[in-house]
């Protein structure tokens, strides 16, 4: 099967170009297996990957125009020729490896940790199963970056707009019955950019390899802001 792969080595290339590889595909093969096969043919080919089962979030790439996690994308689902590019909108370091610094900065900007002001109990902080259920669809995020790098608002304002991943994380803590920083979290999201640059284009929902819904989370944050303002 024919694969077209984006190549770029800053030490020798002026700009990225596409290179063709033929890969023998077998039943049940994932896109990561094909990338590994390409690396067997050419060891200079660079991409990030690790767990191979969709939990570490290392191997997000753009395939035929859509961001996907290579290790859980079956080749059989893809149309030939398969074109593989790095995530759009991020500076390319080499081949499929992009600089995700801004993505991580936005994540850190939402203070992604549980805040408690009360003294900690000797045992666990109690949480009802119903309250715990509110975290489902939020805590499973693997920070692969498929969503944020598919988001036009993040492409235009990566330094000001938090992007879907960070906002999903913000809601993960706002939705946690144990967290005690609701007001601070909401205040920090005020202004025209951080949250409100989301124009519900919903690319994030379409590409999330874990089936999460950042747009919905953003909607929840907006509703809570409204409710608290009244």
């Amino acid at each position: 099967m024919k694969f077209l792969v984006s190549r770029y080595n800053p030490e020798s290339d002026a700009s990225p170009y596409m290179q063709a590889f033929d890969v023998e595909v077998s039943r049940g093969m994932m896109l990561r297996d094909a990338l590994l096969e390409i690396k067997r043919q050419d060891e200079s080919f660079a991409f990030r990957h690790s767990c191979g089962e969709g939990v570490c979030g290392s191997d997000g790439v753009n395939v035929n125009g859509t961001n996907k996690l290579a290790c859980i994308t079956p080749i059989s689902e893809l149309k030939e020729p398969i074109e593989i590019r790095p995530f759009p909108g991020r500076p390319i370091i080499r081949d499929l490896v992009v600089d995700m610094t801004q993505f991580y900065q936005q994540y850190k900007a939402v203070k992604p940790w549980l805040v408690r002001n009360d003294p900690m109990p000797e045992q666990e902080i109690l949480q009802s199963p119903q309250d715990r259920d509110k975290l489902d669809g939020l805590y499973e995020c693997i920070m692969c970056g498929c969503c944020s790098t598919a988001c036009p608002s993040f492409w235009w304002n990566p330094e000001k707009f938090h992007g879907p991943q960070a906002l999903l994380t913000a809601w993960r803590f706002l939705a946690d019955s144990r967290d005690q920083a609701t007001d601070e979290r909401l205040d920090a999201l005020e202004g025209p950019y951080k949250l409100f640059r989301c124009h519900t284009i919903m690319n994030c929902v379409e590409v999330c390899p874990k089936g999460l819904n950042p747009t919905k989370a953003i909607g929840h944050i907006k509703n809570l802001m409204l409710k608290n303002a009244v």
């Binding site: 060891e43 991409f47 191979g52 089962e53 939990v55 979030g57 370091i93 000797e122 045992q123 109690l126």
Partner: protein, 586 residues
């Protein structure tokens, strides 16, 4: 060009659960701590742990740490050190509460407490009824824990060196560890990090085998660095093959599936574990279940066209339980086996999963080496997590004790580093010759010309390990294996890197990892050959019994001259009576 240098109080190598739990202790003080990781921290393999972490919280069924301790000692086939095991089982309880306080989204019971499930090898009252000791966040517990620990380190402003690869430890002539030489992957530039204390928390080495549940990054980097620094590895022959990897692929299906009521069947639909472990059945210890599966397949009762696997039946649990408690497994089954566990059984076979052995430490994470007739601490060096051997798992690890090990001993190491910093206010003088030796390991790969490729040698090595140091271990198979591995090791100097570029050169990283795979893998194969008994995960048809008279002792493998040494098991716990060795039945 002058070598770039940075100075910290403490250097932690590895950003999984052990490294991050060590780091957070230090970051909460005013110590300057650096965490070096070859991947962004949340990509570390702790993220893949599914089932949960053991602690005798007694949220579901009666429990106490002493029962947990008994199960762990028995599970270890009496090779675990009972002082370390007591320490771990006591510490488990506050450790899990601390995790919860740090934000881990554990699943909950109706009364709001942490959900706990049954796992293999767990009992009430020292071998009685099944216990429920494994605290779970659905079947994504490792992910939930790793992310929470990373988040807490972000809060505490831990200094991260993301995507830096540790090349070697730096030590002085007295053997004290002074820090490490690391490689910035993005630029290809080396960096010397000096530290008063260095913690190895590099995780496992499952990539030494061809079929493994372990990630691409689990290449035994820390164990190999320790070996090259003259430190032996302990009990490396004990490698756990998890009973339920997806057949032919190796991805893990958590023991939690059986904890929730799933069970194994052969081609006749027989629930065969009833024959091998009449009481515990599918929740017998992992080594017992793995051997049973391999025996079923060898005796012709395997499933599928090749009769090369067995089936894990889940569909009788109903969609509710599967979706609620095992959502990740349902997803993995669909993706990798094309099977929806709600409707069909999953094809499974044992997969290389976990190394019980590692860098010898005491319960404070301090690395200890033989000295005269006793032992001494290696100044400035700690190890925690899968790369270390405390030893709490002995010859076989219980499910749910691995997350526990990394958290308890990562924390203990962090706390002991804090203490040691009070005494050691200054950095020791740098040792240039050790820096040069580490640099030589890096520059060796600048050699150009024709030669073997990293890939060729790696493939051959991993296949040899699987064939000769895997589940089947006879004298003949293993001695042939050790010879083959040594012959492959002799070819290492002939390997050439064809890609000599600097920027994000993953081929260079893989070349450095190949050396680590060799050092760590040969330690496994050699230690296995030398142990002439069957104990826990180390099963020898030619020596089918456990031999406490001759072999109730820890192995130590030294890289120089492939030398073995042994030391006694610590059978005396901290405060309670010792559990004497008994026959291990489930």
């Amino acid at each position: 060009m002058a070598l770039n240098k940075r100075r910290f109080d403490a250097l932690i190598i590895g950003a999984g659960g052990a490294g991050l739990n060590a780091a957070i202790q230090l970051a909460n003080t005013d110590a300057r701590v650096a965490v070096v990781s070859k991947v962004f921290p949340t990509r570390s393999h702790t993220v893949a742990a599914q089932g949960g972490v053991n602690a005798a919280l007694a949220n579901v069924l009666p429990d106490n740490w002493h029962w947990h301790m008994f199960d762990t000692v028995k599970g270890s086939d009496y090779l675990g050190d009972q002082d370390a095991i007591e320490f771990m089982c006591r510490e488990a309880i506050p450790t899990v509460y601390e995790l919860e306080h740090n934000g881990v989204p554990f699943s909950r019971l109706d009364n709001g407490k942490i959900y706990q499930r049954a796992f293999g090898g767990q009992s009430q009252n020292f071998g009685g009824a099944q216990a429920a000791r494994t605290c779970a966040a659905a079947d994504r517990t490792g992910h939930a824990i790793l992310h929470a620990l990373y988040q807490q380190n972000v809060r505490a402003r831990t200094h991260f060196f993301d995507e830096y690869f540790a090349i070697d430890l730096i030590r002085d002539d007295e053997g004290a560890i002074l820090g490490a030489l690391v490689l910035e992957i993005e630029t290809g530039e080396p960096l010397l990090i000096e530290a008063k204390a260095t913690v190895l928390a590099t995780g496992g080495c499952g990539q030494v085998y061809r079929t493994t549940s372990n990630a691409h990054i689990n290449t035994g980097d820390g164990t190999a660095m320790a070996l090259r620094a003259g430190i032996p590895l302990m009990d490396m022959e004990f490698f756990q093959f998890h009973p339920t990897g997806i057949a032919g692929k190796g991805m893990l299906i958590t023991e939690g599936v059986r904890g929730e009521g799933g069970y194994l069947i052969n081609k006749d639909g027989e629930r065969f574990m009833e024959r091998y472990a009449p009481n515990a059945k599918d929740l017998a210890s992992r080594d017992v279940v793995s051997r049973a599966i391999v025996t079923e397949v060898k005796e012709g009762r395997g499933c599928g066209p090749q009769a090369d696997h067995v089936l894990l039946k889940v569909d009788h649990l109903g969609e509710d339980i599967v979706s609620k408690r095992l959502p990740g497994i349902r997803e993995s089954g669909k993706i990798f086996a094309g099977v929806d566990a709600v409707h069909e059984p999953l094809p499974v076979f044992p997969t290389a999963h976990y190394v019980m052995g590692g860098i010898p430490t005491d319960p404070y994470g301090r690395v200890i080496v033989p000295q005269g007739t006793g032992e001494e601490v290696v100044p400035g060096l700690y190890a925690a997590g899968e790369c270390a051997c405390v030893s709490v798992h002995g010859a076989n690890r219980l499910g749910g004790n691995s997350l526990l090990d990394i958290l308890v001993f990562g924390r203990a190491a962090g706390l002991d580093v804090i203490d040691s910093l009070k005494e050691h206010k200054n950095h020791r003088p740098m040792n240039e010759s050790s820096v040069e030796a580490a640099m030589a390991r890096l520059t060796r790969w600048d050699q150009q010309g024709d030669g073997l490729s990293v890939r060729e040698l790696r493939d051959e090595f991993r296949k040899t390990m699987e064939d000769h140091a895997g589940v089947f271990r006879t004298e003949e198979i293993m001695s042939e294996g050790v010879e083959k591995l040594k012959a492959l090791r002799d070819k290492l100097p002939d390997v050439r890197l064809h890609d000599q570029s600097k920027v994000f050169n993953t081929a260079r990283v893989e070349a450095l990892e190949l050396e680590n795979l060799f050092d760590t893998g040969i330690a496994i194969a050699y230690s296995a050959l030398m142990r002439r008994e069957s104990r826990g995960a180390h099963s020898r048809p030619d020596y089918p019994s456990r031999d406490d008279g001759n072999w109730m002792k820890h192995s130590l493998y030294f890289r120089e001259g492939d030398r073995m040494d042994y030391k006694p098991v610590r059978t005396k716990p901290l405060t309670v009576e010792s559990f004497p060795p008994k026959e291990r039945v489930y």
